[in-house]
Amino acid sequence: MLLQIVASGLSSGSIYALVALALVITYKTTGVPNFAQGEMAMFSAFVAYVLIVDYNVGFVVAFGAALVFAFVLGIGFEGVFLRRTKNPTHLNLIIMTLGFQLALFGLAGWRWGADQRRFPFPVSANEVVHFGNVTVSTLSLATISIALVLMAAVFAFFRFTKLGVAMQATQQDAMAARINGVPARAVVALTFGISSVIGAVAALLTAPLITLDPTLMWDPLLKGFAAAVLGGMNTPIGAVLGGYLLGIVENLFGAYVSVEFKSAVAFLIIVIVLWFRPVGLFGRKPPRKV
């Protein structure tokens, strides 16, 4: 029983971890959470949907196209809008991301309406695999493994490629990075592109689980924020661990306390963590400057 709960917690936790990772890498670069993250991912999922259903394109091509779209959308958002903010205080940047979120949400609602659409996916949510007495759907299995592979790739990219290291340098201190020859502006745009792709993968994995409509990523986005806050907004690895932890805790709460208020766990965790340890479980307190 307990193992079963943990297993399904890992599945939803994978999605939270992906969203949290996407949020944290741009948060580290700009200092603000990207509230448009969810809507950008939702839009990318719709691109895949349109290609598959309306144009009969194969899954691989459609998903690939959706990820390319997400990449361009991320770079475009940073280059066309975020960078043009006249007075880039935290408040103004947050408002920019909120504005983009509303605009994308409205566009998606306008184009595709509020109908709940079934999202075609090569792996079914109804077929199950047995591990001893733990039952996992093939979709969950796919979600967990895809998330693991993608996150491993992202961390390897940050750690072992020149570009990844340049990104980390820019996150730490953009000015110092520029002095050392890093094209900081291009790197920031690229960070948004990568973040958007990670978010889009989360959306593509969420859509077959529920149905596709413009509110697709509202719940995962809040959970992603909760996961990032829980693990630490400044540590990508912490945020990912926070995602898995949140998935498991939430499922335990749903099984033993109350199913109805399961979604409130995320908010509770945000409040508790911010109250007792604002830097998160795995974060370190940044020095404060006047």
Binding site: L91, G99, F105
Partner: protein, 362 residues
């Protein structure tokens, strides 16, 4: 620089000079005549806009003056609405008690949310308030005491012996409260408290070294702002006759933030103006095809390229684009545009004045 701008006592006056009093009198006269001039079905729209103005004033104190972000003001509004309705149905309280009760209960929750806010910077606070707004609607939606997702019907309200039914009586109540609260917000903003708020916004550490009690004023700002939203929620319940958790969604919170940004952060006039514009947009977009000329064009475009049922979403596209453009080109919003026009006029006048003698000597 006129001496008045340097005079502290003139600065903190509620209505500086005769011109301001005259403006207020004209405004009140216009507001008093308005419901008898516009067509009857538009009065509901006016009421709706006035409710938005009340939320906007409160949010402007929090976001514009104190520099704290809130993405959960629809939650405070919900708390106010449900408090006043439940006070009337469960406790049998008259509306005159239920309305301030809504403000008080909402203010209490604002105080509670303000406590963790003491330790949090902008980004974290945005996430926490977003979660707060979601949690409120979630709890209301699942509690049978709150009517669940089906919502609650608002009972008939009386102001003493006068029945508060019909749009015109609602109009005078809501607009009257909006005017009083606007004056209160202005008074708060220009005096000691408002100065403390702005000092905290510009630099919390500097404010603290100058003797401003940062913890006290930050919490106060949240409390006052939540009280405004609570009162607005109670009035919204009254004018709608029905409340449900769906009304107070996260998108409504974002709409509230959008209106103070669009109007101009940190100015009362901007908050009022932005709320009026956005309130109108928000209400009209449900029937956008009825707007002359523009409406049918949009309808045709929508039928051809978009989904026919999704047309009301144009409102969100418009709202989102408006605040992005505001931040990109004029972060001070409509109020900033007004300041620029004033500057331009002054510059033209001065040039006209200096041109005169120059032409005479030549």
């Amino acid at each position: 620089m006129t001496p008045r701008e340097l005079d502290h006592y003139a600065d903190v006056q509620l209505l500086p000079g005769k011109a301001a009093i005259a403006k207020l009198v004209v405004l009140l006269a216009v507001l008093a005549v308005l419901p008898f001039v516009v067509p009857g079905y538009r009065i509901f729209t006016l009421n709706y806009m006035a409710v938005f103005v009340i939320v906007g004033l409160g949010l402007s104190i929090l976001v514009g003056d104190t520099g704290q972000v809130s993405l959960g003001h629809a939650g405070f509004m919900a708390i106010g609405a449900y408090t006043s309705v439940l006070a009337m149905t469960e406790l049998g309280a008259p509306f005159l008690i239920a309305l301030p009760a809504a403000g008080l209960v909402s203010a209490f929750f604002g105080f509670l949310l303000g406590l963790p806010a003491l330790r949090l910077d902008g980004p974290y606070l945005a996430i926490a308030t977003l979660g707060f707004g979601l949690a409120v609607t979630l709890i209301i939606g699942h509690g049978s005491f709150f009517g669940g997702h089906m919502g609650l019907v608002v009972p008939d309200a009386y102001l003493g012996p006068i029945p508060l039914s019909g749009d015109i009586s609602h109009y005078f109540l809501i607009v009257g409260i909006a005017v009083v609260l606007a004056l209160a917000a202005r008074n708060l903003s220009v005096t000691r408290v408002g100065r403390a708020f702005r000092a905290i916004r510009d630099s919390p550490i500097a404010a603290e070294t100058m003797g401003v009690d940062v913890a006290y004023y930050k919490t106060l700002s949240f409390t006052v702002s939540a009280a405004f939203a609570g009162i607005a929620g109670s009035l919204l319940a009254l004018m709608n006759g029905f409340i449900s958790p769906g009304v107070f969604s996260v998108t409504l919170s974002l709409m509230f933030l959008a209106m103070v940004v669009f109007g101009g952060l940190g100015s009362i006039a901007g908050a009022v103006l932005g709320s009026l514009v956005m309130g109108y947009v928000n209400l009209r977009m449900d029937a956008v095809q009825e707007i002359p000329i523009f409406g049918p064009m949009l309808q045709n475009f929508s039928d051809a390229y978009m989904s026919p049922s999704g047309l009301p979403n144009v409102g969100w596209v418009l709202t989102g684009s408006m605040i992005m453009l505001t931040i990109m080109f004029e972060p001070r919003g409509l109020y900033g545009v007004w300041l620029r026009i004033e500057d331009g006029v002054r510059w033209l006048r001065r040039r006209g004045a200096s041109d005169g003698p120059a032409a005479g000597t030549g």
